[in-house]
Amino acid sequence: MVNCGVCYEKLVNFEDMVRHLLRFSERSEPNHIKFLNQYISAEKLDYNQLASALKRFFDYNVDGLQLWIKKIFVKKFYSNDPHPFVLALQHPSDTTLIGYTIEHQHFLRQWVRSCAAIIAKTDKMDVTLYELENINTEFGGFGTELPSHFELLIRMGESLGISRSVIFDIQPLPDTARAIEFWQEIAQNRDWIETMTAMHSLELIAYRNIKNYGASISYFDPSILNQSLISNDAKQFLREGYEADITHADEALKLIEKYATDPELIQRIQATFLQSIEWFDRYLLARLERGKKYE
């Protein structure tokens, strides 16, 4: 069995996936067509060509699952066409950072729930310990000396003139809310290892070594941490992510590769990952949309 990387529909095999995609192409369904354009080919392929292309696309044996994930992530968010939020974050304006603060608080609240769901479902001690550390880094903090990323995010917002109570009062934009719903559904209903992939692969967005995988730029221009373009609180927030996410992403992907041994499970992981990054794409745009309201 295989799962569609767009709608997660269970299909018999890759030949069935071909029929599934061709059906949705005939209906001009945007998400399935986007998948084809993005990952397979903008040129229309016949049945056999599409079957071969799909098998090649999902083949992780050459690179291994970790590298397969990294390459696709880089292609989607970095490469020659970096995500507009990443472009905006190179030398961010106050409004970009405000948008980041207001939407990302909702993301981080969901993040904790997703990590907790992984702990609830896994019997692997190293996975549990990883998730505990991640929850504390992102949300709990380690006392007053080491505030969490969540706390640093809120402080960044305060430094930009938005009070804590106002930040907490603002509801997420629709695309953020929908993305969160998706991640919550994954956390509740899918295998722990799929949830782990869905969430921790997203930490690649701030992965310091991303250029080693073909990215043209990194999450932000590191020189802004040494300039006066942004507030100290903004620097602190960005710096912490910059330091932590390199290990978070790599460690998670290692654990995922360690425990993903069944080929059907691996393909489900791939499908879940593909869905997750689509929602992440929309969520990053929501950060920009929020920021624009403060221009």
Binding site: K34, L36, A42, K44, P84, D175, L285, L288
Partner: protein, 91 residues
């Protein structure tokens, strides 16, 4: 083989009449983006003697060239997820 007027994809089968032309798109999202693009160009550059020479980029960000009165203009258009223009910027 038909190619999407916006993204040049050969998938899909969506047709829409825009400015008296029956155009092929891979999906409705491209059709919406294209129509919004045409409207934005008309607002920015006026209606007359405009020809679109190039559309490149992705569904997130299109880089376009138009010619008006023999002068070439480049601009970028970023879209929200529903195909509405988020930002129009002359380059």
């Amino acid at each position: 083989m038909n190619k999407c007027e916006l993204c040049k994809s050969q998938w899909g089968n969506f047709w829409k009449r825009i400015e008296d032309q029956h155009l092929f798109f891979c999906c409705q999202l491209c059709a919406v983006q294209y129509e919004n693009l045409i409207n934005a160009i008309q607002i920015q550059f006026g209606n007359r003697e405009i020809s679109m020479t190039e559309i490149q980029g992705t569904s997130r960000l299109r880089i376009c060239k138009v010619v008006k009165n023999d002068k070439e203009y480049r601009f970028s258009v970023s879209y929200s997820t529903d195909g509405q223009i988020f930002r129009f910027k002359e380059l």
